[in-house]
Amino acid sequence: MSDDEAGPERDHLPAEQVESGVVDNPWRKLRAFTDARIGLGRAGISLPTHRMLEFQLAHAQARDAVHLPLDVDALCESLDEPPSPLPNQAPIRLHSRADDRITYLQRPDLGRRLNDDSAATLAEAAADDGYDLALVIVDGLSSFGVASHAAPFIEKLASELADDADFDWSLAPLTVIEQGRVAIGDDVGERLAARCVVVLVGERPGLSSPDSLGLYLTWNPHVGVTDADRNCISNVRPAGLALDEAAQRLLYLLKEARRGEQSGVALKDRSGGEAIENETEQKNFLTG
């Protein structure tokens, strides 16, 4: 599946093709203004067959994104020789304390900590004077998002970091974690003595977005950090926030975090412009 074929077109029914036994809704043309599933038509008062199956397909894709395990071998292979300024070594493979998916889904606390083997593995990778930044890839709730976008995003971010005129960035070895949550980055960052950690995590899949990647930045990572001390860039995928733009936005946040030696609410307030706003008074067709 290529990036631009994340799913079938929702409106694959040609306008002129009328499903047998279905009452169409003439207001379906309003789909030009919203992705909401309006004007689906009806069979009696129920969903027409094809509309019902479109929904089932979208849900099936989201379910698969949650449950299909991340192909860690393939991901590590694609990052075998990571671009500078990342150290030239293959990613370190780690695992949370959640042994399987069922445990993971019910025990978020276990997904936030490394298991004992992983902690020992990481101890060998720690540097005496630490790192400026650790990049941590976590499967999270969408293996699709990580498998599709993590490696290309890291290429783009590495390029931004290499070109940064303001700071030199010393990077920790890449880590890839199975059955992890966002906060497991704190555990990794602390063990690597990283001054900042960025977690690339598969986001909870939406019905029409099974492949979103989330980016979480935490300054001074250590076990016990709360979400108020993080900055998040969400919905990173070709059909959402493009990878290029996400990399630029993350670099901006990284530099701000490094200047202010902090992350979270205070940082976001000063960066501004992230919130979705509709400042203009808008008309709509219902009130003219």
């Binding site: 309003l30 992705d35 309006i38």
Partner: protein
């Protein structure tokens, strides 16, 4: 602390240290109680805890407070408003007797209503734990709770819907498109309620004005709500915004509500402000609350209680402020609190029962997220069961897909399914409007008209450019 509770079965003696432990271990299994570390360790221990609970007198809940009076304003609200006179007829009951009495032939809606001020949230929570799903349905069906603002919600034989036209950027035309879709599918009598994408006062006021104009233009007998923080709504009222209903997410402990950024005094102040606007035409229920099991644990504010008990205490808060609508968003919180369809269905029935028993006008957001072990079939089951149980309202959104909140809830079509399958009508005033507007077919109250009603056809002709192709 009270003496430990003991129960011997065969050679084994079970011991529960306190009332909270009995309550938690008697709870039907769910992931949130496991996460909190309060769940029964074995299936046998769970039933033993239910047996212990069944033999406890109801008065224990007035004496052995699960969260101390001095620590929690919701405990104080429950204790200070308890009506001993109303409680008198059931005062001598155990929890098990209470279940039998609720199910008894002679315990009518009127009898329950008379006793209701004597029932505390903890008593409701306790009896729910020893009821099967069919008990929860049968008793809830007796407990009619009718409220009114511009229409009348909750009468026997009626099912209302909240039209939820959310849009990821609050785009006015996108929201209007979903509203039109919902109205033409006969939805929106409980409220037209938007979760704003941006939670600030200016944005909320814009949406309030838009909804007010739509309701006025088409003379729709319904009410609007923008689901923003209670303090934002209060500011909007002070700025002259057309506020019908005041919204707030509420929990069952003071610490939960503190984490949400409000206290009971804020609810009281906002309610007074909304009442002063006198915008209701057939009633003055001006509050809209949302709840859901797991919110207290999520805020680390559960005091070691199980999540169903915390939830029942939230209904103790709700009933004090005489809401038009209270909605348990049962499957939204995720599988770490309610793991699968079975747990979501059970929790939905418990919440609806506890709310109705306490006199709260309950609706249920029959919903799930993509990381829960649930699907559309589970939602069909819960919707049908709640329809039988007499739920006041459910959600209605286009095609079950909330594109802003990223979860699945009941669709406009689903509401029509429940109405047709269970012979349920919309709110009477809204029902009459649907017929008057030509949305329902003439002469058949469960059939939609084949043609687009004239006034909406006219509206569609005003579409901006770009709408002719998808």
């Amino acid at each position: 602390m009270a003496a430990p509770y003991r129960y011997t079965i065969g050679a084994r003696t079970y011991r529960f240290d306190d009332l909270a432990e009995v309550m938690a271990k008697a709870n039907h299994a769910r992931s949130g109680d496991r996460l909190a570390g309060v769940i029964a360790e074995t299936a046998e221990e769970r039933v033993v805890a239910q047996m212990v609970l069944a033999d406890l007198p109801l008065t224990v809940f007035l004496e052995d407070l699960l969260i101390p009076y001095e620590d929690d304003e919701i405990t104080r609200l429950i204790v200070d408003t308890h009506d001993a006179e109303a409680f008198a007829p059931i005062r001598h009951f155990t929890v098990g007797d209470f279940r039998n009495w609720l199910l008894a032939d002679d315990t009518s809606a009127e009898v329950i209503a008379a006793v209701r001020p004597g029932i505390t949230p903890e008593m409701a929570a306790a009896v729910a734990k020893i009821m099967r799903n069919q008990d929860l349905i049968l008793v809830a069906k007796k407990c009619r709770v009718v409220t009114a603002f511009r229409n009348t919600i909750g009468q026997a034989g009626h099912l209302s819907t909240r039209l939820q036209p959310n849009h990821p950027t609050d785009d006015a035309t996108g929201i209007a498109a979903s509203i039109l879709d919902g109205l033409l599918y006969g939805n929106g009598d409980a409220v037209i309620g938007i979760n704003p994408a941006t939670d600030n006062v200016a944005q909320s006021v814009r949406l309030m004005k838009m909804l007010d104009e739509i309701i006025a233009r088409y003379e729709i007998p319904t009410q609007s709500c923008v689901l923003t923080h209670v303090t934002n709504t209060l500011e909007a009222i002070e700025a002259g915004a057309p506020v019908d209903l005041v919204f707030q997410s509420i929990g069952g402990t003071e610490a939960t509500n503190s984490s949400f950024g409000f206290g009971l005094a804020d609810l009281a102040e906002a309610r007074e402000a909304a009442l002063a606007l006198k915008r209701g035409t057939v009633g003055d229920n001006v509050m809209y609350f949302e709840t859901g099991q797991g919110s207290s644990l999520s805020a680390d504010a559960h005091h070691g209680l199980d999540q169903q008990t915390c939830e029942a205490r939230a209904y103790g808060v709700a009933r004090h402020f005489k809401p038009l609508l209270t909605n348990t968003v049962v499957g939204f919180i995720g599988p770490e609190y309610l793991y699968d369809g079975k747990e979501i269905i059970r929790a939905g029935l418990e919440d609806h029962f506890c709310g109705k028993l306490l006199g709260v006008p309950m609706g249920v957001d029959v919903c799930y997220t993509n990381h829960a072990e649930a699907d559309q079939n589970d939602m069909d089951t819960l919707l049908t069961l709640l329809g039988v149980a007499g739920v006041n309202f459910v959600m209605g959104i286009p095609g079950s897909d909330d594109i802003m909140l990223n979860y699945q809830t009941t669709s406009f079509h689903d509401a029509l399914y429940a109405r047709r399958a269970l012979d349920l009508r919309p709110a009477p005033e809204f029902d009459a409007w649907l017929t008057r507007m030509g949305i329902f077919a003439e002469g058949d109250q469960y059939r939609l008209a084949e043609t687009l009603p004239e006034s909406f056809a006219h509206s569609l002709s005003r579409l901006p450019e770009g709408a002719d192709h998808e």
